[in-house]
Subunit: 294 residues, 2 copies
């Protein structure tokens, strides 16, 4: 038996993402020797022990002190408080990472609490479902999906390699990025699509009753795809929009300008404008198919 990459990994916030990482540790040998669950809810801790996803579980932040990898996996709005609670218990040489969907705010909120000698490397696995909680995770969640690390200048290369190996062992395709750039890319690939989906489903929610029931019955013509996206966790998404404000407002602005132009083309019957945009957008679809991301 070879020694695993980490002796003991602490997962703080044991929901969809946290419990999926734990399942990887359980199912794929060589990642970590043991898992500690830290969650604010005792009920979650009990459930995690019952599922056999960790051998230690509790609400006490001091539990992280015996771990050489600590993964923060709560909604990002909790990170500032979490940093204050957990920081003092981190021991030298530990790698501290997270899975939050925004990276600049995580650096702002966690950074000040990281003791010297602890390797803080923010990360973001681009994988998820619209479900939440420790029962919704599964080991294959990260398989073939991107995981982006956004190390700060001066990050210890060996620590970066170990964390990269850990995620690769979970099945992820690895990528390194500047944190601010990560937030701009995700604002358009993920945050704007979610905001739009929430908006359109919200618009339908406000229709009079009879219309609403028909929208539900005939939802298969496009609307349905948006409702799946708009069923994602409300707290997680609230935190994403509040913490990636600048980048999200910037893409909303561009989107609104483009929608206004289309609206005007419809109002004035400018068929050629519509057709030419609808033709250009097909090319992006082909690029995605070519990049094997379809």
């Amino acid at each position: 038996m070879t020694t695993p990459l980490f002796a003991r990994v602490a997962i703080v916030g044991f929901g969809l993402i946290g419990s999926s990482i734990a399942r990887c540790v359980v199912e794929y040998p060589g990642l970590a020797g043991a898992v500690t669950c830290v969650d604010r809810a005792q009920a979650v801790c009990d459930r995690v022990l019952e599922l056999g996803l960790a051998d230690k579980a509790g609400t006490d932040p001091a539990l992280v002190s015996e771990c050489d990898l600590v993964v923060l996996a709560t909604p990002i709005g909790a990170f500032a408080d979490l940093g204050a609670l957990i920081g003092p218990h981190l021991r030298e040489g530990t790698i501290l990472t997270d899975v939050g969907s925004v990276k600049m705010s995580v650096i702002r909120d966690i950074g000040p609490h990281v003791p010297d000698g602890v390797h803080f490397i923010p990360g973001h696995p681009l994988a998820g479902t619209e479900h939440s909680g420790p029962d919704s995770g599964f080991a294959a969640l990260f398989k073939g999906r991107w995981c982006i690390l956004t190390p700060l200048p001066g990050t210890n290369p060996e620590a970066l390699d170990r964390l990269t190996a850990f995620w690769a062992g979970c099945g992820s395709q690895m990528e390194v990025m500047e944190p601010a750039h990560h937030d701009r890319v995700l604002a358009i690939t993920s945050h704007l699509p979610h905001l739009i989906a929430y908006t359109i489903v919200g618009t339908a929610t406000d229709l009079e009753e009879q219309m609403k029931s028909e929208v539900i019955r005939f939802s298969a013509s496009g609307f349905r795809d948006f409702t799946r996206i708009a069923a994602s966790d409300p707290v997680m998404w609230r935190d994403i929009f509040l913490n990636n404000r600048e980048a999200v407002l910037e893409v909303i602005q561009r989107f609104t300008e483009d929608l206004t132009a289309l609206q005007r083309a419809i109002r004035w019957g400018e068929g050629e404008k519509l057709e030419s945009l609808f033709t250009r957008t097909r090319a992006i679809r082909r690029s995605i198919i070519d990049a094997k991301q379809a």
Copy 2:
């Protein structure tokens, strides 16, 4: 052998929808004795004969004169011209229908060309893919999907029953609606989602090159679902927006107001407003699951 519902059905415009109907006739006995293909392109006619989807095919509109069911399946922008070409050749007792995605404009464009004694019953199967042309069709396309008929006042009930039986034989779930109501329901369930998807993909198209290539690489986080929708046929969608202008502009207006409210909540950090909307939209998803439309 029982006699089929129709002796000979003409399909005018033999693309995805037209060829799928023809495949139903070929594969499901009892729908029609034979199929005539009418298409403006001789190449399409040749291909249809080669595929064995019709025993007669040509560009001459007079071909419809020997058919007791005529289905118009071109983009709706072609309907006014098509009505003028085909109207004179329709024989008494024939049922004339269409599959266009907007119903008020079809009534406006086809209605004046329908001779006395011909039963004009507009229709719309809520089924499709992002592919086009006679090779892309398949008989199972309509299976379990809605097909909405929007008969005009005074429609012959026997003709309505026969057309209903035809679509039910293709596997559709049938529904009758007022044409104006159809257009309002579809504006929100189908036309707005497509417009939004085209817009967001268009916004991404305008990004600088490096950003664009990253959006493509990391498209799986939400954006990708929009690109599939935005790869739909440009001419078909141009015609839909131009011909359902009032209803589409009305829902864009509502959508924009709602987006502006969310944008403001993000700008001012109003987390409760965001969370409460994101919680409400989950309920619609549950209704869709309950209605077995998920």
